[in-house]
């Protein structure tokens, strides 16, 4: 899936190995780098499953604390399978969150505080005025499909039923609308 860039960075598995090999010492550089890489990925997973930025940030912190602790303990036998390992923990924490049994404080007691050097990555802000202007420029069907989809969090078949479309058509309209929005957001003339 991945190849080395021109400066041949360590891959994720090599970082995982370095963290395990350093125990009981802490390889702060390797841990900080792995955290930097995994944090946005886990956060995106959290957004997809929890649909809430705060819950996704909590998930990110919990999963990464658990990941680093388990790597230090040598509990990942095949570092090449780091993604599966992290995915398993993401699923577990999402399940706990949904059951309402997740206790961040308890996890913090178990795994310790996140070092200051591993603060969560900053989120880029979206230009809301520009986005509104871009939305207003879309054809009616595209705007309706996107609003019903993203605001009401409905898949294409549900949106299609409500708007008298076929599911395939709703997907096509959604895709077209998103491409236009992205294009409009990336240009300098998005403001009304």
């Amino acid at each position: 899936m991945h190849t080395r860039g021109p400066d041949q960075p360590l891959d994720d598995a090599a970082l995982a190995r370095a963290i395990a090999a350093a125990a009981p010492r802490v390889d702060q550089e390797a841990e900080a780098e792995l955290y930097r890489r995994l944090a946005p990925r886990v956060r995106a997973y959290g957004l997809r499953h929890l649909r809430d930025a705060h819950a996704a940030a909590d998930l990110m912190q919990q999963v990464l604390m658990m990941t680093l602790e388990r790597l230090r303990d040598g509990r990942l036998r095949e570092p090449e399978k780091l993604a599966s390992f992290v995915l398993g923990m993401c699923r577990m924490v999402v399940l706990e969150t949904r059951r309402g049994t997740a206790r961040r404080e308890g996890l913090l007691r178990t795994y310790g505080e996140v070092p200051e050097a591993m603060d969560p990555p900053e989120q880029r802000g979206l230009d809301e005025a520009k986005l509104s202007s871009c939305l207003e420029r879309l054809p009616e069907r595209e705007r309706s499909v996107l609003i019903l989809g993203f605001y009401a969090d409905k898949p294409a078949d549900a949106v299609a039923r409500e708007l008298g479309l076929s599911a395939v058509n709703a997907r096509v309209i959604r895709h077209r609308g998103l491409l236009k929005l992205r294009e409009c957001m990336s240009t300098n003339d998005g403001h009304s």
Binding site: M1, H2, T3, R4, G5, D7, P9, L10, D11, D12, E33, R37, L38, P40, R41, V42, R43, A44, Y45, L47, R48, L82, A83, S84, V86, L87, C90, R124, L126, E128, L131, S132, L135, E136, P139, E140, R141, R143, S144, V145, I147, L148, G149, F150, Y151, A152, P155, A156, D157, R161, E162, L163, G164, R171, R174, H175, L178, L181, R182, M185
Partner: protein, 186 residues
């Protein structure tokens, strides 16, 4: 240290389907493994999430106009949004406004839509005329619902606006109904 490069990026359409939970479980599992191993694709998923949140936020804040569905209106009510609804029959008129405590206004144009393949919504007011071509509609619903931008409505002076629904096909266009909104600022 830089991040390794993805040589098999997930197509954007597949990312969107993943976001909406439309993939088969095995496809979803494969995609999640990739996303957790791939900085570039997870960044693109994060961008999609941000764009989606922005779309929701733009609608919630009343910044954009949209044709919507009865089920969507129901959902807005269940979320506790304060809606001011105006239901107007063909040829009818209504006195309307938006107050400081309203989150949104919903205009419900009653219409016989059976047999229509394309419907346009034409706005006629003192400023001129505008046409929204090919609006979405569910023929069985018997109405067209739209939610004007609350932010724009709040800035409007007293005025009268007429909306006309038109059925459009190869043979031409025929009026479905005219609806008059007499707006007064609150």
């Amino acid at each position: 240290m830089s991040t390794p490069i993805c040589i098999a990026p997930i197509p954007f359409a597949a990312l969107v389907e993943y976001w909406f939970g439309e993939l088969a479980p095995n496809e979803e599992e494969r995609m999640e493994e990739h996303l957790l191993a791939c900085a570039k694709c997870s960044e693109r998923l994060g961008d999609l999430a941000e764009l989606g949140a922005g779309i929701g936020s733009a609608f919630r804040s009343g910044a954009v106009w949209a044709v919507i569905s009865p089920a969507f209106v129901q959902q807005l009510k269940q979320e506790g949004l304060r809606l001011r609804e105006y239901r107007v029959a063909p040829g009818g008129s209504v006195n309307c406004t938006i107050s400081a405590t309203d989150d949104a206004v919903v205009s419900r144009l009653q219409a016989s839509l059976e047999g229509a393949t394309r419907v346009d919504l034409v706005l006629l007011d003192e400023q001129g005329q505008g046409r929204l071509a090919d609006i979405p509609f569910e023929p069985a619903a018997g109405e067209v619902l739209f939610c004007p931008s609350a932010a724009s409505l709040r800035k409007l002076p007293a005025h009268t606006a007429m909306f006309r629904l038109l059925a459009v096909d190869e043979a031409g266009e025929r009026p479905i109904g005219d609806y008059t909104f007499i707006h007064t600022p609150s």
